[in-house]
Every structure is written in C-alpha cells, then in structure tokens.
C-alpha cells in the first residue's frame, strides 16, 4: 500500500536500529515515554521493542482516550441511557470500558438501553434528525484529534436548531496531561516517582495543535520532545532523534512528523474548537486525578447542547478497584505485569481497569501482543 508500506519497511528499520544501537551510550539508560496510545499500538503491533538496544526503555503514556476516562463519567453515560431513556451514541472503544458494579455500555445495551456505536460525530447528528421524537446524546470523548468534529456537529445542531440533540462532553487536552506526568500532583504519586528522559510527542493531536505548545515543556522541564507519526519507522526515527538530543544535552522540540505537523497546527480546527468550547476548571482523569484546565466544556452560547446541563448531571467520582494498578501504569510508574490482577482477573475479555480495554492501553497491548515474551522483557518502569 503506497504511502504506508514505506513507513513499515524492514530494511529501513534495520538501518535505523543500527544507528540507534551505535549512538546509544552503553553507560546510561534512555527512559522514553510515548505519550500516545497510537504509538503504543505501533510499538506493540510491529514488535519495535525487538529492534531497540537494551538501554532504550519505552514507557507507555496516558494518551489513550478511553484509558483516562474515569469510572464516574461512564456511570453518568449509562444513567443517561437507562434512566433518561435517551439514544446514547458513542465511539466503539468506549463500549467496553468498565463502569461501577460490573457494568459497561456493552452490558447496558444488552439489558435494553439504546446505545449505538458510531463511526463519526456526524452519525449522532443524523440519528437525532431521523428520530425527532427521541432525545439523542453524543457521548464525546478524546483528545484534540476528536474535538473538532464534535465542535462541527454542535455548531451544525445550533444552525439547524436541533432540539433533541446534546453532547456529553468528555474531551480532554494533551498539555495538561504532560504537565501532570512531569510534575505529578501529590495525590497521584502512589506507585513511586517517575523519571522520564524524553517524550515521543503525539502524532494526530499535533496535527491539530501544532508543535508550539510543547516548547514550554521542553524548556521548563528540560526534556526533549520529538513529535512522531504513528508508523513504526516514525517511532524508530523519533527514538534516534531523542537519543541524539540526550547525548548532546539538548532539550528541544523536534518534529519527525513533518509530513503532517507544522509549528502552528491546523488553525481552522483550532478556531472552531475555540468558538464552541472553553476550558473546564478541573476534570478527573483516571490515573492522574483531578487536573486543572485539562478538559473542555461548551461555551455559554452553545450550552443548550450540553447534556450535563440538560439532564442536571452531577459528577460523582468513583474510586478504581483497589487491586487495579491502572493509575501507576498510566504514569509509567509500574509495568502491566507488575499488577497483581494482570492477565488473571483482568483480561481483555473482562477488563477490570481501563488500560486493559483499548488496544492502545498499555495492559491490553502487552497482553495481546507481547504475552509470549519473558516477563523480564516487559517495558520497565523507572
């Protein structure tokens, strides 16, 4: 497949692997976090770890939209479908995220709730137009990549005056999560402190927000960040660039993904998001706790489409299962195999924690793609 196979080429991979091996110093470790689940998926699916020298340690970050969604928000969504009788529309990955009392959207649907899996925010709008007698709620989740399409449908609903449509907004912003990892709040520090030497920066998120927002982190926390695409060679090239920066004592934002990311990003998408959304004062992230200015909510002009207001949703935090180590795993403080319930009580079929749900989650990626490896080869915590 043109424009894709080129970025999965085994010959080029060996070439980059040789360079990394040559340039990585034997007397130090390189603890690199790939922020995005997309990178985690690429690393696992293509076996990238096999091509990296022992001193380069990849840590899976929290950039998986369903993994950071707290139980309480899923509970709220289920309640909307079951108690308010709305048609709840959501993206596929959200369906299996565990909620309270062994519930999930999939199970709620099996019990009769009208929950529909959609491929695009526009599908939710269409369903609302086609079923004027029912209330339709779009359960919106995701980072900056999925936010602009939500903004589009809210604006469209406003334009056509669609009264039976609203959005349960759970969109989160990337920079807040990076801050939280670099400077964890005291309540989120269980599982030990984390020393991350450098970051592989988001691919699709950066297409929207550009590379500029990362400059603050590189400068303030003195950590190199290399923005990389989601193909395996992108990841390997980014690792090489990070190794070079660290060897040279640099901490800059570099862009490996120049075929899609600019410094300014997609200004049209940014304007659209700014028109419809504003920052929430605080939002709970699974694993990272309450983070200030870390999520979005609708501006006053669009608040009639805010499901939280329409249905008077009052958020109640729900603690994770006490055996679940998702919190520490999401911050790279623990490896999936260090969790007592990993692969026993918690499996992709019956996930206890959210990291086991999406193939982008650290636990599901390890379980699905790497279980045959000896435990010692697990991505090490720091």
């Amino acid at each position: 497949m043109k424009y894709v196979d080129e970025f999965r080429d085994g010959g080029l991979a060996r070439l980059i692997a040789d360079r990394i091996a040559r340039e990585a110093r034997a007397d130090r470790r390189y603890n690199l976090m790939e922020f995005c689940g997309g990178h985690t998926h690429a690393i696992s699916r293509y076996g990238v770890a096999d091509l990296l020298p022992a001193g380069v340690n990849m840590i899976h970050g929290p950039g998986c939209p369903v993994c950071v969604l707290p139980i309480g928000r899923i509970d709220d969504a289920i309640a909307l479908a079951r108690e308010q009788g709305v048609i709840l529309c959501t993206y596929a990955d959200t369906m299996r995220v565990p909620a309270s009392n062994g519930m999930s959207l999939t199970r709620a649907r099996a019990q009769g709730a009208d929950i529909r899996m959609i491929y695009s925010a526009a599908d939710a709008l269409r369903i609302a137009q086609e079923t004027p007698a029912r209330e339709v709620v779009f359960f919106a989740i995701g980072f900056e990549t999925t936010t602009p399409p939500t903004a589009v449908v809210i604006r469209e609903a406003d334009r056509i005056g669609l009264g039976n449509f609203s959005v349960f907004c759970n969109h989160v912003v990337t920079p807040a999560a990076i801050s939280a990892i670099l400077e964890p709040a005291p309540q989120a520090r269980d599982g030990g402190s984390v020393r991350i030497d450098g970051f592989i920066g988001p691919a699709h998120v950066s297409c929207v927000i550009g590379s500029r927002p990362y400059e603050y982190f590189a400068h303030t926390y003195e950590r190199p960040i290399v923005i990389a695409g989601f193909e395996p060679l992108d990841v390997m090239q980014a690792v090489l660039m990070l190794v070079r920066q660290l060897n040279e004592g640099r901490h800059e934002v570099e862009n490996e993904y120049t075929r899609a990311v600019t410094r300014e990003g997609n200004l049209k998408a940014q304007q659209l998001v700014a028109e419809v959304f504003e920052l929430r004062r605080s939002f709970e992230w699974r694993g990272l706790g309450e983070l200030p200015d870390s999520a979005l909510t609708m501006r006053q002009r669009f608040e009639r489409f805010d499901a939280e207001q329409r249905y008077g949703i009052v958020y109640r935090p729900v603690p994770d299962n006490s055996a679940c180590e998702c919190a520490a795993i999401l911050r790279g403080a623990k490896k999936p195999v260090e969790c007592k319930v990993f692969g026993t009580v918690c499996t992709p079929e019956n996930p206890l924690g959210s990291c086991m749900v999406s193939s982008e989650g650290a636990c599901a990626a390890w379980y699905t793609y790497a279980r045959f490896r000896p435990k010692a080869a697990a991505p090490a915590a720091v």
């Binding site: 699916r45 076996g47 699709h204």
Partner: protein, 349 residues
C-alpha cells in the same frame, strides 16, 4: 414437478409477491412455495419425492457431517449472496476433513413481508452454487416469523460427505516442525461485506472470495494424503484458525507477516477502519498443516488449482506449552497473534 399449476391455481408472484405467515403454516401456501420455488430450483430425485426426509445409500467408510447457520447482512454483496454463501460455508466445513461433500439440507427462516423476488434470487443462487459444487440439496424446511422478528432470511445448511480411505485430517494433529500453508490472500470477504454496511459504506473493488473449496481439497489430498490439519478461516480470520490449531494440538505456531498474501485494497480498507486483516473473515480460503517434507509438494498441488493460485507457506509449528501464535513482523520484530477479543472494533483515533 409441474403439478403446481393445476393444484394452486394462480402461480406465486415472484415479481411483486411477499412472504406471509401462511407460507410457513404447513398448508397449501407452504406446499406451493416448496413446489414452485425450492423443488423447482434444487430439482433432484430425493426432493421430488416430497418426503419429510431424504433417503440415500452410503458407501462404506467414514462419513462427516457439518452444519452452519447464515445470518449475513447485507443479503447480497459483491461476489455472492446469502444463498451461495450458505452452500459454500457447509461444503467447505465438510471438505476440511478431506471429505467429498455429497448431500445438503437447507432450512429457511423467513421474515413476514420478505420479497419473493429476493427469496427466488437467493434460492436460485443456492441451487447454482450446489450444482457447481456437485452436491444435492436433498431435504429442507421453511418457517416464517412475524415481521420484525427476523432479518429477511436466515439459512441453515447441513452437509454430509465421505472421507477417502487413508485420510485423517484433524485440528489436533499439528506437530512441531510442520509447515503452515495458506491458499491465497486474506480478508476479501470481510472487507466486501463491510464496504456495504450502511453506516460504513465506502467504495472498493473488492469482492467476496466465497467459493466451494472441495475441488482444491481433493487435489491436495490426492497429492499429499497425509495432510495433518485443514480449516477454512471464516469468522475471526486466519488468526483465529491458527489459535484453534495451536490449542487443539498443544503446540505453538510462528508465522511470517511478509509471507501472508493480502490484496492492497484489503490492506487499505483495514488501514482506515482500524482493522487487522489477520482477523477479517474469508469464505474461500483454507489453511493447511503438513510435515516439512510434504510441504513443497502440497504447495505445488495448491498452486496448480485455480482457488490456490496464490498459495504460500506462511509459517511453522513450534513447541510451546503456552500454545501461543506469534508472528515475525514485516518490520523485523515479533509479536503475538492472539485470540480476538470481542468484536473487531475500529479504533477511534
């Protein structure tokens, strides 16, 4: 056969007519449907007797029997329809024992209101698929459910066949050192179906690979009677079939990504839907396992048959108490190819 005109007065209207509850009620309407549609299409000596069962002689030896229900949506898709699929599915399940399929039964659950024109198109397609496969549909059943309680039509077929002397094919016979062979590119059926789902519709030139594989199997068995395992990787795709073999045989399997044929159009569709072709359904492919010594001859026999033209050796059986399937990736790393979790759902970003 042509009694119908006299008995039923007006013939069934295969242009405008619709299935109604009477077509499953056991009375004259049902008899007419059987006569004018099923017996006419499947026409054979057993069906013509109009008994509730088919009575046929069998040769000595081992028989196999298999059953398969078909609920595909949409009912008509590029490269086939639920009718041809219901024949191919069961013919293939029978053939994967090395057997020659002989007889089929067909059971229809029809939804009230279903267009008779569509039903006729489906039954004709079944009949021609059965004729091509050299099997006779010798008995059947029809039920009608109220509108809203079915999805147009569901078809269950059961097949029987006879295994040639000296052939012993079973999923538990893979041994370390054996080779794994695949008959052609994977994922065509699943992608063809998905391209037609209403909430996904995208344009593709991909057609379902739905086909009866007994001819290919016969050629393979003739050349290498000692084939260990055979299976058609339908739902759950190649990955699922390999995991089944590993579990049944108590072995591991290691495959090489680059050796697995996938059409560029299928790769592209899987890419933007977030699917892995290893898990996408096929309806006209098979996986075979045989000794390393037999593998070149088996590959040659497969490639000499039109349905195995693109056959390839894709991996080998290894010793592994964990019964894992692993893959050397095109990039040069390795990973597991695990059982499918839930449905294969697209990723969101």
């Amino acid at each position: 056969m042509s009694r119908s005109k006299d008995n039923y007065g007006r013939r069934l209207d295969f242009r405008q007519g619709r299935v109604d509850m009477a077509h499953g009620a056991g009375g004259r309407a049902m008899a007419q449907l059987i006569d004018e549609l099923f017996v006419a299409a499947f026409d054979n000596e057993w069906l013509r007797q109009l008994n509730d069962q088919a009575c046929f002689g069998v040769s000595a030896g081992r028989m196999v029997m298999s059953t398969d229900s078909h609920v595909v949506s949409p009912l008509f898709f590029p490269g086939g329809d639920i009718g041809s699929l219901s024949v191919h599915g069961t013919v293939n399940d029978v053939a994967m024992s090395g057997a020659r399929p002989l007889y089929l039964s067909a059971s229809f659950i029809l939804e009230e209101g279903f267009a008779l024109a569509d039903l006729k198109r489906i039954v004709d397609s079944m009949a021609s698929a059965a004729r091509e496969a050299g099997v006779a549909v010798v008995t059947g059943d029809t039920k009608v459910v109220e509108r809203g309680k079915g999805d147009g039509v569901f078809i269950t077929t059961t097949g029987v066949g006879v295994v040639p002397e000296g052939v012993d094919i079973s999923g538990d016979r893979a041994r370390p050192g054996d080779k794994v062979l695949l008959s052609g590119p994977i994922g065509d059926h699943g992608v063809a179906i998905m391209s037609f789902r209403e909430n996904l519709s995208f344009e593709t030139s991909i057609r379902s690979d739905s086909a009866a594989l007994h001819g290919l199997v016969a050629a393979m068995v003739e050349r290498v009677p000692a084939i260990h395992c055979l299976r058609d990787p339908t739902r759950g795709g190649l990955a699922t079939t390999l995991n089944e073999f590993a579990r049944q045989s108590g072995v591991g399997i290691r495959i090489v990504e680059q050796a697995i044929p996938v059409r560029p159009e299928v790769s592209a569709a899987c890419e933007f839907l977030g699917l892995d072709p290893l898990y996408v359904a096929n309806e006209g492919k098979l996986v075979a396992i045989c000794t390393g010594k037999d593998a070149p001859a088996l590959l040659e026999a497969m490639r000499a048959h039109p349905l195995g033209r693109d056959a390839a050796i894709i991996g080998e059986v290894i010793k592994d108490p964990d019964r894992f399937v692993q893959m050397q990736t095109s990039l040069g790393g390795s990973r597991m190819v695990d059982w499918l979790t839930g449905e294969q759902l697209p990723r969101i970003c």
